[in-house]
Symmetry: D2
Subunit: 293 residues, 4 copies
């Protein structure tokens, strides 16, 4: 069985950038692309006028672009990035990104992601699942994806994470999705993958940070429960928020019901965030995200 | 101009109650009403099986009810409330409740409530608006409702609240709605009106308790903003939640936009809560609400 | 690998009923259960005062119920159903219902249902998947569920449906879920399973009945797209609606985007409906549903 | 009492435009503004790649713009509009647009709009309310706005509309909001104000076109009701949709409840559409809207 969307990808370049705002930036960049034979397929920009920051995402077809792919970065850096004090990321769509899934015992987010992957909805490769428990090994088997059990806990974290780093290296992983993974990563781990670890937290952050948010929501008597996907930073549940959503509950809902109702929320909110990341549509700045449409 | 829904109200009795759960409670109460000639118009009940509590709201037509209205409470207390350890509230719909509005400088919640009132949507009387500022006096004038300016602040709170108590007394006020009233009430005030002061807080509680929640939401980079209506208790923004809702925002929204978008949320969420209170459909238990449909 | 929730189910009785409204029905039925030793676990009722119909769902534990399970129906019919002109359905929770999935080429609803099933979220058995195409046979294999290809089309419908009837019989199927099954069932088929075939239609019915609703939504320029799950009746897309939901779109969304965004909606809306059906919480009356909470 | 936001408006120019897509359009237009001393405050664009159309909204500060305000149109037309086959609208923000409200007997949309207006939320003038009934005359009085009763019906439509045209002329009306106005406008009327008459229809269009949509929704047994604001065209309820939203209902809701719940939906959906129109953020193309954020 052939997994994922492995059709030869389009040969596009994507630039995600931000810089101090000043007149004419869009004009010069679009002209750079147009005059060199690039066909702009997507352009979205946004000016944060409060802080004076210009943000842009531009994607263009490289087929008739006269600057060789391997030199685009040089040209762009020399001509524009320096001049405008840009922070930018250039990437190409001809190679799907490689994503690792970290899971524990709950399967709903894992299945949701693998169902999309198998159906070819996402331009991504998923060569690796890591878990601190063996419980979901059968899912790896069902989808033909290596499932590595690394029984990490508080006491053996450094040693176990060393094994994880080795795996992530070996499988050429670009980014990591914590699909209801119930272990806190070390600072070292987090710093290795800045803005490249996506977590799903089962509350409407910043409400109910930390463990057992559904219990806390039940105790407080809220009328809506939420889920939040965010990039992982070294402060717990405090990284840049990518996506949030909520579902209505009533006084009739027990904690067990909240857990049950929350599952659909968690999987959808996580998958929306992962999709935006795969599409290279997320910029982060000062612990917030700009998510292009 | 005649304000509010002053058509002769229906002559119904409403009981809101809770007690330790045990078999047969619905049967005995419905039988009590039926055999005495009452026509049940509404019955909703709910059993909290986690804590073993039975909650019920029942409303019946008194027209052919053979127990005189003024004796219903005696009968009910003697026959059922004692026997089942009930906490209950009996009320009658032939007299509209009287509601006071407390406001400061923002008019959106005030107008929303008065528009419903004027249209006759609610069985309520609004004989009084109180404000700590004169800014919205013209709204009182527009709708022909006494608008009393009581310039309360931290230093004169006891004295000013004494004037408020006098007003509330004089106008026969049953419950109070804080329609974006920007003053904290004293404990004494709150304890005079238990479960009878409804506030609107402009965040998805318990996120962003206290002042300037839109600024806090902007800083945190959330993707949804919320509003929460709740009964006021002596702990700030921590009373029983009646209703919450959210609206989606994006990275493009400044604090000013959040304030702007939040207004519609605040007014709708507050009015939904006030409506449920007017309809006597809210029970509170252990800092939570049971809101009947 | 053991699939589904096959733990010995609870030994409860469930009655779903409606009848002309009259005083005392709740009392007599709850008394019937209580005095015979049944412990009521769930009771919800609703009176349609416009049409004068009383609806109820009651579930009770049979453990200490003194009427033998096989005689409950007799007793209930004789004592109450006749007397109150009830239409009712009595069922027992000790045997999970058996559900067949009908699919075509799209996998998102299928995976969503099987993920819940595998995780043990639902008290149901799924012994059979039927498809008019072989494309999703690998999913049956992944989950160890027989996948029968019945290449039905307009010309061979009677013959192919005969084979389907035989399969449904052989596997002891109680109800059928059309998980994006792209074939219209015959009247004969539909009449065999009244209120027991659940479909998902990819629009906010009654808007965009029939084929290609996303194209129609795009053409009309709507700002929200919807999905609707309903029981199948002989009139296309016109059966009793069980659940609906929507998602916001913008002018930027192409038809392909609508199809993509709609998938999450379809799978969630279908699964919510299936869950309510499994829980025996749906009553139908005059082409509408009463869905208990 | 001073009504509306009459502070001296900002001195900006706004261009809304669409044209066949081709490379370089953003660059030339932003350069035109920048090199002539304009400070771009807002730029949003969108390419419909299916149909090959480029859409843009750009707003810039005229303070240091060296082309005189009255010549901007000439320059823009000569230099760009002709060359790129643009359809465009140039407007200036120093003069608030003038809006007329048409109402019948229901006040909720009217109050909602006037509350925003009085609070200064919108840069607009509302010098005129027209109604086919006298019922809401007191609202005009409350807000100090001329309220003209024009008792139009099927038989006197031409004559009455002539009076309306005269009023619209006399008050210098730019656009019209039908705030639950229960009369169909003539073709002549509609053609006088293309894309300048905003209606609110109390259903999720295209479901339940025409009269009594809540009754139809009740009959069909939907689980959500909606509201739709759209520009009025000569085909009933079929004009370009600006905004839609929904609210969840249940089997418990009678038609009266739907009407009641729908009111909040109607007023919010209408006001959102009116706000976008006031902000000049709506483009129409082939019976659809592009609504900029």
């Amino acid at each position: 069985m052939e997994m994922g969307n492995t059709t030869p990808s389009h040969n596009n370049a994507v630039i995600l950038m931000h810089c101090p705002d000043q007149p004419g930036i869009i004009a010069v960049i679009t002209e750079f692309i147009n005059t060199n034979g690039g066909n702009i397929l997507y352009l979205d920009q946004y000016v944060d006028r409060v802080n004076g920051i210009f943000y842009m995402r531009v994607e263009w077809d490289l087929e008739k672009f006269i600057i060789p792919k391997e030199k685009i970065n040089d040209y762009f850096f020399t001509l524009y990035a320096q001049r405008y004090n840009m922070v930018y990321r250039l990437s190409f769509t001809d190679r799907p990104q490689r994503m690792a899934l970290f899971v524990s015992k709950m399967s709903h987010c894992l299945y949701d992601i693998l169902a999309r992957y198998t159906a070819g909805d996402w331009e991504v490769e998923i060569p690796l699942i890591v878990s601190n428990h063996p419980d979901l090994a059968h899912v790896g088997e069902q989808f033909g994806i290596p499932f590595e059990v690394i029984p990490v806990n508080r006491d053996n974290k450094a040693e176990m994470e060393a094994r994880e780093f080795e795996l992530l290296e070996r499988y050429g992983i670009d980014f990591i999705v914590l699909a209801r993974y119930m272990q806190v990563l070390s600072e070292e781990f987090i710093n290795r993958y800045p803005n490249r670890i996506i977590n799903i937290h089962h509350s409407f952050l910043p409400a109910f940070v930390g463990a057992k948010p559904y219990h806390a929501a039940y105790e407080r008597g809220v009328k809506l429960i939420g889920a939040t996907s965010h990039y992982v930073t070294t402060e717990l549940d405090a990284g840049p928020i990518i996506e949030q959503d909520i579902v209505r509950i009533t006084h009739k809902d027990t904690v067990a019901n909240l857990v049950h109702k929350g599952r659909d929320l968690e999987k959808i909110v996580l998958s929306r965030a992962v999709e935006k990341h795969i599409q290279r549509k997320i910029l982060t700045y000062k612990n917030k995200t700009i998510v292009f449409s």
